[in-house]
Each structure stands twice: as structure tokens, then as C-alpha cells.
């Protein structure tokens, strides 16, 4: 099974119905993508497939053949969203954070607060509430 992971052509040997989440974490050793609920409710496992946010716990490996998959590791460590989540304290326990950032990534630079809320409506945070998270994303737009 061949796909592009964070810009790198990747070959994995796994069952075609393995969850993309498990392949990314266990075969590719990229553990930034988190498992929260395992049923598409929480968004912690959000990755981008061909630019669109999806829950990697609900994607069979077979369906990413030839696709472009981006995980939180693909941002490096110096992305404005990552810095803003740190400086605005948009994280507490941190389990939801990679998914929040991946869900925010496709937003247009001029996205409004309402558009940010819609983009993140599939991501749950059980620690902070959402104010600091929205603030971090607003701030990252300005940098």
C-alpha cells in the first residue's frame, strides 16, 4: 500500500481495513495523531486526506492508496498555529490539540470567528473549553 505521508512516498504492509490512525501511529511511528473516542465524535485523530480534514479512526487504509495524507508532524514544529496554541494556552492536557490544529489548517487566512467555530465543530476539548483555542487560531491568522 503506497501513499504520500507528509510529503514523503510511503509504503506500508498492513491489512487493507486497518484504520489509517493505527497505521500512522504504529507502522509509521507518528504518534502525534491521537485516538480519543474511536468513533468519529471527538476529532482527536484528525488528519488531512488530499487537503480535507477526516477522522483517521474511520478510514480504512485501502482508501488512502495514492492519496496525500498530512498529519500534525507534517507541520514541522514551527507553524504559526503551533506557536499560537502555545502562547494563547490553547491546550491543557493536549490530547485534542493536534486534531484541533489539523482541523484549523484548511481555514482561509481571513476566516471569521464563526467560520473557525464551524471548522472546529467536529473537535471536542474536555479541558479548556474553546475560547483559548479560537483565540489561538485567530492569532495565528494574523502572523
Amino acid at each position: 500500500m503506497r501513499f504520500t505521508l507528509n510529503g514523503v512516498a510511503t509504503d506500508v504492509d498492513a491489512h487493507s481495513m486497518s484504520r489509517l490512525l493505527d497505521v500512522v501511529r504504529e507502522q509509521c511511528a507518528l504518534t502525534g495523531t491521537k485516538e480519543g473516542c474511536g468513533e468519529g465524535e471527538c476529532g482527536a485523530c484528525t488528519v488531512l486526506i488530499d487537503g480535507d480534514p477526516v477522522c483517521s479512526c474511520l478510514v480504512p487504509l485501502a482508501q488512502v492508496e495514492g492519496a496525500d495524507v498530512e498529519t500534525i508532524e507534517g507541520l514541522g514544529g514551527d507553524h504559526p498555529l503551533q506557536h499560537a496554541f502555545m502562547s494563547e494556552v490553547g491546550a491543557q492536557c493536549g490530547i485534542c490539540t493536534p486534531g484541533m490544529i489539523m482541523a484549523a489548517l484548511p481555514l482561509a487566512p481571513n476566516a471569521t470567528l464563526d467560520e473557525i467555530k464551524v471548522a472546529l465543530s467536529g473537535n471536542l476539548c474536555r479541558c479548556t473549553g474553546y475560547a483559548a483555542i479560537y483565540r489561538a487560531i485567530m492569532k495565528a491568522r494574523q502572523t
Binding site: 481495513m17 484504520r19 468513533e39 477522522c55 480504512p60 485501502a62
Partner: protein, 272 residues
Amino acid sequence: MRTGVSSLDLRRASALDDALRMLSEEARTPIAGATDLYVALNFGTLAPRRFVDIWGLDALRGISVRDDMLVLGGLTTYTAIIRSPLVAARLPMLIDASRQVGGPQIQNRGTIAGNIANGSPAADSVPVLAAADAIIVLRSVGSERRVPITQFYTAYRASVMRADELIVAVEVPRVDGRQWFRKVGTRAAQAISKVVVAGVRAPAPRFAVGSVAPTVVRAYATERALAAGASIEQAAMTLGREIAPIDDVRSSAVYRNRVAERLLRRFWIETS
């Protein structure tokens, strides 16, 4: 994940004919966006072990208008519906419903055919399709048939669809009148409905309700009462007799009855 994948058998269809042939040869469950399937898999409640992946069949994607019918390919995602000017012009209540399916991650993967085939009485798109008198296009090897969505379901999660058939498209005739959709759940996003309704305000009004019976309910008696000039109180009483909600983890029968009647009132007031 509670179900190991090693016992599962997935075949990938390269074209529609290929998929139909696989379905005709042996019992296989079609997989599209997999948003319902993997929930059951993770819970350990998924019975099927053989699957056919149809996600790659681009011929089943796309939204068009043919012979004054809005035609949605079976693999049309909620995101594609939300972004479609054709749906906005002809069936805006489907856009309202699609925006309330899960969150963007689910909207990017969930398909209209999947929502129909999964057969949940709480499906967000199904009351809309019922109120719009939509037609399900079922294809099997060498044949095709059309079933009105109002005649599609036979019981809880059961339908007239045969194991060798695929939902290839949904056809929606022109809807005259003001469209209205409302979903009542625990929160706006990421919640399954307690009650979900779609209505069309026209001389012959239409009203469909989900999550209040084993299948979606098209409230024909209520519609007739409204068309005949009954008061909204009388119509609400009629609706109460047409639905049969249950107590479950999400809500109670009493609450669902009351909310369904209030939604009927609100539909009538807001579309007057």
C-alpha cells in the same frame, strides 16, 4: 478497536460494473465513507466480514439537474452538498440537514447513499428526502429500479434493497413551496437527533419526522389535516397519533412526542 481486522475481507471495485458483479456473486457489504461502519467495528458490533470498497467509483459522484430532477450521485458527500449551488437553489433544506451531520470530518466522508442504506431512523438527510418525495435509484447487474424513499424502508434498519443492489443515485423532483428543516439534539454539532423534521409549506404541505418510529415517518394524515384547514392544535394531535417514539439513551418517548408537535407548530408559524 474491539474488532480485529485480520478476519475481514475487503475487495476494491474499480468500476460500477465491477462492484455490482462482486455483490451478485456473494454477500458483501458496500463501504463508502465508512463513517458508520467503523463505529460498529470499533464497538465490536459489526456482523459482516466481507466488504466491497466503492469509495473510488467517481461515476457515482456529482450533482446535476436532469429532466427537472435534482440528481445526487450515491457517493455525494455532505460537504459536496453544502457547497452545491444546485442544491442551494432547489433543495436548501438538504443543505441545512447536511451542515448538522457530525462535523466537517464526517461531512467530508459521509455519503447520501450511506445515510440511506445505513437505515438509521435518526438519519439527518432522510426526513428531507421523504418530504421532497425523493426517489432512490437501485442498480444491480443488468437492471435498475426506482423506489420512492417513502416506500424504501420496511422496518427498523430494513429496506426493500436487495443484497445485490447498490444505491447509485437519488433523484429529487422540483419542490414547490417553502422548505424547513430542524434537528433537535444535545448540541448543534456531533450529536445524533432526538427528533429531526423536514417540511414543505405549500397548498399540499409535507412533513416528515425522524427518530420517532422504527423508520422515518411521512406524516400524511397531519399533512391532510393542514391542507384541509385544521387548526395547528388539531394537526399536532394528529401528528401525535402518527408517530411512535420510544425511550432510549438519547431521549424519552414523552419528550420526543412533545418536541415533534412543537416542531410542527414552529414549522407552520415560521413558513406562514
